[in-house]
Each structure stands twice: as structure tokens, then as C-alpha cells.
């Protein structure tokens, strides 16, 4: 039994395959968007500052969207992330204003609260077997109740929110702020986990066919538990960052991110590794949506323009992916 032909990996690594619109269509969409807005708003859009604004403004969206990569790959929805993000942010603000605890302890507390929320999700979805869509919706509502309870429905403000704590959001390297770097680090870790470890492969297997994965010895319950803990902790990270960015604890800050995060993660799943939720595809999706939205605001588009743009790009990407797959099925025979 000699080692057979192993030349085939080259097929996947050929640059033109990698750069095909089927693989990274969003890159071409991004180029089109950049060209369109550079022509439309030649004085403001094509500038290095615009790039920085886009990155800095979308880092939190990126982190919260990345938080969904692992659970969605494992076949579970986490609809509580927006509320967990809000909870982490309000816990941060509350502790900063009402206690003298050092900042690292406060950040750690916010993340522990998030982890606890993830543990509740896991107990509901994995142990009790409640459908993740409903289970995390319910736990999200409870997180919202906690947010209202802590904040008393008012923004928490105080001096300590503006001091050293704000560095989390402000400190920068060449105009690129810490949250952007954090997003890239999170993406890199998730990329390594999903693409370069056995655990990542097993997570995908669990999401695609949990029964087949289980019968192949994959501990699907354990992986789904871990995936829900991951999303909660990353949502907590996003909450801490947003709290530092706005320098106040607002009770309304997390939940609006939920739909955007799902749209971005699903758009990301049409890129690079079509059909799989993946880190760099998600980052690419954040850039496409963020660039379009920044451009629209620079040309003074109406308020509904942003949502319209997000919706069209998401539906367009999903439709194109579906059509490609249909063509592949009709042209290829067993």
C-alpha cells in the first residue's frame, strides 16, 4: 500500500481558483462599491481617513458577528448575543461607576457574567434539548430583564467611564484602534480553530449532520456547549468594547446588533469557503457592509438607505450562492 498520488492539493491552491468570483465575490462587490463612491463623492470618500473610519466604526460589529461563527457552524442559533453584549456593557458601566474595583477585574467580571449566560444557554439547548432558536430567545429576554434591572432604564454615566477604561477603545497604532486589532485577532484564532484543528472539523460535522457526527464518535453535545460558551464570551467582549467606545452604559446598546451580526455571518458564509461559516469571510462581509454604509452616509443618502443596502447585499449573495450550487448539481453527474 504505497502512498498514492498527493499532487491534487495544488488544485485548491491555484491562485485563479482562489480569486474566482465564486470564492470571493464580495471582494469584487467591495471594489465596485469603492469605485462607485469614489466617483460619487470624489472629495470625501477616496481617502485614507475613510478607511480608518470604516475599520474603527465596524470593529464591534465584526466581533459580534464573529461570535456567531462557532455556534452557527455547530448547527445552533444563538439569538441571545445582542442581549448578552448589552448585559456585559451595563455590568461594566455599573461596576466602574459604583465600585472602586480595578479595570481588569471589572472587565473580567463582565466576561464571567457573559460566560454564565452561555452556560445557561448550553443547559437549555444541549442538556434539556430545547430548540436553540427558542431557547436562546428566552434566555436573551432574561438577559434584557437583567439589563433593565441594573440600569433602571437609564444610561449609566460617570467619570471613571471616560478615564483609563476608555483606552480600550481609543488606544491606536497608526490610526487603527485597539478594537480593530482585537477583531483581527479574534478572526485569526477562529480561523485557526475552524480550519486547522480537529475540533473545528468536528464542529462543522456536528452542524451539517449531528447524527452522523455522533455515530462517528464526535461528542456533539460537548461541542455545542463549547460553541454557546464561545459566542457568549465574544458577545461579552463586544459589550466591553462598546461600553468603552461610547463611555457610558446604555440599556439599549446591545440588542440592535443582533440582526446585523446574523446578516454579516450569513453573508460571510457565502465567501471563501462557500456554505461554511468562517472567520475571514465574516470579516470580508463586515468590510463590504461597512464600506457601503459609510459611503452612503458620505453622499447624504436617506436614512433607509443603510438597511436597504444591507438587505440587498445579503439577499443577493445568498441568491447567487444558491444559483451556483444548482448549476453545479445539474452539470455534474455521479
Amino acid at each position: 500500500m504505497g502512498v498514492a498520488d498527493v499532487s491534487s492539493p495544488a488544485v485548491r491552491n491555484r491562485p485563479w481558483t482562489w480569486l474566482s468570483p465564486k470564492n470571493v465575490g464580495a471582494v469584487y462587490v467591495l471594489i465596485v462599491i469603492i469605485v462607485v463612491f469614489s466617483v460619487w463623492a470624489p472629495d470625501t470618500f477616496p481617502a485614507i481617513d475613510t478607511v480608518k473610519v470604516i475599520l474603527n466604526q465596524n470593529a464591534v460589529t465584526g466581533i459580534i458577528a464573529l461570535s456567531l461563527v462557532v455556534p452557527l457552524s455547530a448547527g445552533v442559533f444563538d439569538l441571545s448575543i445582542g442581549y448578552v453584549m448589552g448585559l456585559a456593557s451595563i455590568v461594566c458601566a455599573y461596576l466602574l461607576v459604583n465600585t472602586a474595583l480595578p479595570v481588569p477585574v471589572i472587565v473580567a467580571s463582565a466576561l464571567i457574567v457573559s460566560l454564565f449566560a452561555g452556560a445557561i444557554n448550553a443547559a437549555l439547548v444541549v442538556k434539556l434539548g430545547i430548540d436553540s432558536f427558542i431557547g436562546t430567545l428566552g434566555s436573551g429576554a432574561i438577559a434584557l430583564a437583567a439589563i433593565i434591572l441594573i440600569s433602571n432604564q437609564q444610561a449609566i454615566t460617570g467619570d471613571r467611564l471616560g478615564e483609563g477604561f476608555a483606552d480600550i477603545a481609543i488606544s491606536s497604532v497608526g490610526g487603527i484602534t485597539a478594537p480593530v486589532i482585537l477583531m483581527v485577532v479574534v478572526a485569526a484564532v477562529l480561523w485557526w480553530l475552524m480550519d486547522h484543528t480537529a475540533t473545528g472539523r468536528r464542529i462543522y460535522a456536528t452542524g451539517f449532520n449531528a447524527e452522523a457526527a455522533r455515530l462517528t464518535g464526535v461528542r456533539t453535545g460537548r461541542l455545542r456547549t463549547a460553541s454557546l460558551l464561545t459566542s457568549s464570551v465574544l458577545a461579552g467582549v463586544a459589550g466591553v468594547v462598546i461600553c468603552a467606545q461610547v463611555s457610558s452604559g446604555s440599556p439599549d446598546i446591545g440588542p440592535p446588533y443582533l440582526l446585523n451580526a446574523f446578516a454579516t455571518a450569513f453573508l460571510g458564509a457565502t465567501q471563501l469557503r462557500s456554505g461554511r461559516f468562517n472567520a475571514w469571510g465574516t470579516v470580508l462581509a463586515v468590510l463590504v457592509l461597512g464600506t457601503g454604509q459609510t459611503g452612503l452616509s458620505l453622499v447624504g443618502a436617506p436614512v433607509w438607505g443603510n438597511s436597504m443596502f444591507t438587505g440587498l447585499v445579503l439577499l443577493g449573495a445568498l441568491a447567487v450562492t444558491k444559483l451556483q450550487r444548482r448549476n453545479r448539481h445539474t452539470t455534474r453527474t455521479a
Binding site: M1, G2, V3, A4, D5, V6, S8, P9, V11, R12, H196, T197, A198, T199, G200, R201, R202, Y204, A205, F208, N209, E211, A212, A213, R214, L215, T216, G217, V218, R219, G275, R276, R332, A334
Partner: protein, 522 residues
């Protein structure tokens, strides 16, 4: 004999005929020039071993499969098109498939409405009329259940009768053909009797019934005529009076030609002295919903088969052995490790490999490539937990691909683009890669063409010769005859008989599983 046949044919014309039905799947002619006549007031039994083509024939009749050219079908003297006949109002061919097609969470009324269309105006369902219709249909078959309660509360035979009632709903007294595909597989003997009464009533009222079954004793009780299929062809067709159980068994099994029978036996099994005697797998007191206490062991190098009808426990025993059933209890010994509770991952860690019955739903990850499917069980051995060595994965996968006989350039294609046989080779390869001590296979050659079937059998023989302990649970008698050293025959949740040596032949296995499958009725 000939005179009688002429007389019958002269007396009446067949209600439904199909001539020259054939269908070719890649690599195999599943149904080959089959003709069938059905008469009014008659129950016509269709018999044959698993894989003989009778299910495929039913699917052709139901318009589900597009047959090869040349098929002609007539109903009541005029030609019909099987592909479109079901779209007609009051179409004359009615089917009750083996799974009944009922939604157990819904009520009888709902199930009937789902099949026959809802009553009432376009915007409002007339529930009073619905319930009335359901009661009427059920009463006709002697079923007394509240049509508003969920079907999960009803008995198996009530559900079967409901499916029959629904299939015939809306026909009134019109001429029709009723096809029952293995309707008794899930029924107890008293329940079977109730179903038979209903079938006889239908027959006496004019139905032409095509009755597909595995159980031979039933045929003599219910059928007026019988057709036997083997290898896609009709082997024999005639009145039941001219048949005996022994004759039917030999027709179903096929008489082995003298040239091939002894050769097969001698090539198949190693001499017992060459085999190891150590047990790699032992189960004691194994129980689950459909298994009522099973003990056996499989030694290294031995291939043990489990035969039995659907419902005998045969279909569950592989899953129970592999720890895949949450309600299974008993004692397991796998490759030296003992368990009183077993999960699949524990079993696999102990050195067991498991090939489940449903390749698409339980075996393969269809979104994965061939490579990813092949390596799924072996990932722990490739690199470290922090880094999967994709180079090692690819090299070893290529080697395993060629050793199970799949071309190496298929490594990166989606696994669903492979043929059924090659897909099954991937599932085999996935486990062989781990070099397990025990391999448990359920229906290992289901949906696999002839060539791949031989290759898979050969692979199992090779692996067993190298010391692997193999357990095969199958409804395909060929699997048992071709590779097994020992066959356990299950009935009613227990191992009834054990066959060895020359007893592992189609007629004996058929007789053990089917001929006396039902307890004698009072």
C-alpha cells in the same frame, strides 16, 4: 393445468395489466421485463427476497420511478400512463406504502384531510364535515377511535387500516387496484388477522389487491394468486393452490447451480483452526425497545451475521451493540474493556467501528468532501490537538482511498457526487483507517450496485482474515451467504437460531426468518 388457465382468462379480463416493465439503474437492471395481471375480486401476492426488484416495481407502478421504454399499462381495457395517472381525479391505482405516510402527531381527521383535501370553502375548513368523513371512513373498516385524538394513541393496526381507508377514500364503488406494500411488518398476529378481514372484505367487494410481503404463511392465508420475483425478473406466477411453502421458498431463493454452490462455500471461510479464538466483542443481556435479552460474542477474525425480519430486533441490534441507542441496557465487552452503560464515543474509543444503516442520514456528512468524510474518525491521530496535520491527513487519505478501491483524484470532490457503492467504501474506509478491533455494520450493501457489493464483501473477508471481528446486521441474504461464518437469526427480539457452515444458505436462512415467523394463531 393449461385448460384451467384458458378457462380463467376466457371468463374475465384482467382489471389492470402491466407489460414489459424494466428499469436500469447505474450498473444494474433492477427490474427486467416484468409483466403482471391483476383481476377484480382477487388478492395477488408479490413475493421475493430483499433486492429482488419488487419494491422498485411498486415504485414504477406508483409513477415514482421513470421506467425504461417499452412499458405498457392498461386499466379496465384502456391504456394508462403510470407517470400521470395519479394526477387524475379518482385515479384507479391506490397505494399504501410500508411507512403508511401518516403523521402520528395529528388526528385521524387531519391525516385523512391531508390525503384527500380539506372540506369546506376556500377560506374555512368545515371541521364538522371533516370529522364526519373521518368517522365514516374508519367505521367502514371497523376502526373505533376518536378521529380528533392524535394517531400516536392508536394501535398499529388501526393506523394501518386508517392508511387503507385514506388510500381508498373518495373512490366509492369505482373499480380500483389497491397495492399494500408489506402492511404487516409492524403488526402482531392478532392485528394481522384484523387487517386480513378488512382485505378480504375489500376483495369480496371487487378490489384487485396487490399484496407485497415477506411472510410466507400469510400468503397462503390471504392470497388467491402469487407472483415470485428474483433478480428483477418474474420467476413464477400462478394460483396459490398450485404452490407449497417449500416450492415457494426454493423459487424465492433460487436453486443454486451445481457448479457454483460448492466453490462458493470453500472460497468463503477460512478453516476454523486458522481463526483466533479470543472474543473481541461480547454482549450479555442486551435489551432495548425491540430487543429482549440478547447474548453473543464475536471472535477476532470472525464474521457474524444477524438475520431477521423487520421488527424482529435485527434492525436495532447493531445500534445497541455500538452504544447508539439511549435506551439500550446490558453488558458490553469491547476489545477487553467492559461497560454497563455505553455511548458511541466510548465504544469507538474502545476500538469499535460502526457503519449505520442509513448512509445519507447517519453515515456521511454530505456537505463534506471525500477527504473530510474519510478522515472524520481518525482526526485525533493526525497532528496534535492544537494543530491538525492536513498534510498527514491528505497522504493517509489517499492511501486509504486506493486501498478501498476509490480513485485517488476523487479526494476533494463533494462526497455526494460519488456513486452509492463508492460512498459506502468511504464509510468503510473511515473505520478501517482507525484499525478497529470490532466493526459493526448495518445493511452494509444497501443501495450499492453489484460490482461494489462484491468489492465490499471482499474487503470484509480480507479484514477478517487480518484479525478484525465483524458483526453484520442485514436484511440482504446475500451479505450473510457471501461472508458470514455464523448467522444469528432473530425473532421477536431474541436470537432464535444460530446457523453455521453449510446451513448458511439462502433457503435455510429464509426458512428460519420467514416461514414460521408468526406464532400459530388460535
Amino acid at each position: 393445468m393449461a385448460a384451467v388457465a384458458t378457462e380463467v382468462a376466457g371468463a374475465r379480463n384482467p382489471l389492470f395489466t402491466v407489460e414489459d416493465a424494466s428499469i436500469t439503474f447505474p450498473g444494474v437492471k433492477a427490474v427486467d421485463g416484468v409483466s403482471l395481471d391483476l383481476y377484480e375480486n382477487e388478492v395477488h401476492a408479490l413475493l421475493g427476497a430483499n433486492g429482488c426488484g419488487k419494491s422498485t416495481l411498486i415504485k414504477i407502478l406508483a409513477g415514482f420511478h421513470q421506467p425504461d421504454d417499452g412499458l405498457r399499462a392498461t386499466f379496465d381495457g384502456s391504456e394508462i400512463d403510470l407517470a400521470t395517472v395519479e394526477q387524475q381525479r379518482d385515479h384507479p391505482l391506490r397505494f399504501v406504502h410500508q411507512d403508511l405516510g401518516l403523521v402520528n402527531e395529528l388526528s385521524a381527521t387531519d391525516n385523512i384531510a391531508l390525503g384527500l383535501g380539506f372540506l369546506g370553502s376556500g377560506v374555512r375548513v368545515d371541521w364538522k364535515a371533516e370529522n364526519q368523513r373521518a368517522r365514516g371512513l374508519l367505521a367502514r373498516f371497523g376502526v373505533h377511535l376518536d378521529p380528533r385524538r392524535p394517531l400516536s394513541e392508536a394501535t398499529a393496526v388501526d393506523r394501518t387500516l386508517l392508511a387503507v381507508a385514506r388510500a381508498l377514500g373518495g373512490l366509492g364503488d369505482a373499480k380500483h387496484v389497491l397495492v399494500l406494500d408489506e402492511p404487516t411488518a409492524a403488526l402482531s398476529s392478532t392485528e394481522v388477522e384484523r387487517l386480513f378481514e378488512a382485505v378480504r372484505e375489500l376483495r369480496d367487494a371487487g378490489s384487485a389487491v396487490l399484496y407485497v410481503s415477506h411472510r410466507m404463511d400469510e400468503i397462503f392465508e390471504i392470497a388467491d394468486r402469487v407472483t415470485v420475483m428474483r433478480s428483477g425478473r418474474v420467476i413464477s406466477s400462478g394460483p396459490i393452490g398450485a404452490m407449497t411453502p417449500a416450492l415457494l421458498t426454493s423459487l424465492i431463493a433460487g436453486e443454486p447451480t451445481e457448479a457454483e454452490a460448492p466453490a462458493k462455500t470453500s472460497s468463503r471461510r477460512p478453516t476454523s483452526s486458522a481463526r483466533h479464538t479470543e472474543a473481541a466483542l461480547a454482549v450479555r443481556g442486551l435489551r432495548s425497545q425491540s430487543i429482549r435479552g440478547v447474548d453473543f460474542e464475536v471472535r477476532r477474525g470472525e464474521i457474524v451475521g444477524v438475520a431477521g425480519l423487520f421488527g424482529s430486533g435485527r434492525e436495532a441490534v447493531g445500534y445497541a451493540v455500538a452504544g447508539a441507542l439511549s435506551d439500550a441496557a446490558g453488558h458490553w465487552e469491547i476489545n477487553g474493556a467492559s461497560f454497563d452503560r455505553l455511548t458511541v464515543s466510548d465504544a469507538i474509543d474502545a476500538g469499535l467501528g460502526f457503519v449505520p444503516a442509513d448512509r445519507a442520514a447517519e453515515g456521511l456528512i454530505s456537505e463534506f468532501t471525500v477527504l473530510e468524510n474519510l478522515s472524520l474518525a481518525a482526526l485525533s491521530d493526525l497532528g496534535s490537538s492544537a494543530r491538525l496535520s492536513r498534510r498527514a491527513e491528505r497522504e493517509q487519505a489517499s492511501a486509504w482511498l486506493s486501498s478501498v478501491g476509490v480513485r485517488a483524484d476523487a479526494i476533494d470532490v463533494p462526497v455526494t457526487t460519488l456513486s452509492g457503492g463508492n460512498q459506502q467504501k468511504i464509510v468503510f474506509g473511515r473505520w478501517l483507517w482507525r484499525r478497529p478491533a470490532v466493526l459493526v455494520l448495518c445493511e452494509p450493501t444497501a443501495g450499492v450496485d453489484i460490482g461494489a457489493r462484491h468489492a465490499l464483501h471482499e474487503l470484509l473477508r480480507e479484514q477478517a482474515a487480518a484479525g478484525l471481528a465483524v458483526l453484520i446486521t442485514t436484511s440482504d441474504i446475500d451479505d450473510l451467504v457471501e461472508v458470514c461464518d455464523r448467522v444469528l437469526v432473530m425473532r421477536n427480539g431474541v436470537v432464535e437460531r444460530e446457523l453455521t457452515g453449510a446451513a448458511i444458505a439462502t433457503p435455510t436462512i429464509l426458512a428460519a426468518t420467514e416461514a414460521d415467523s408468526l406464532p400459530t394463531r388460535p
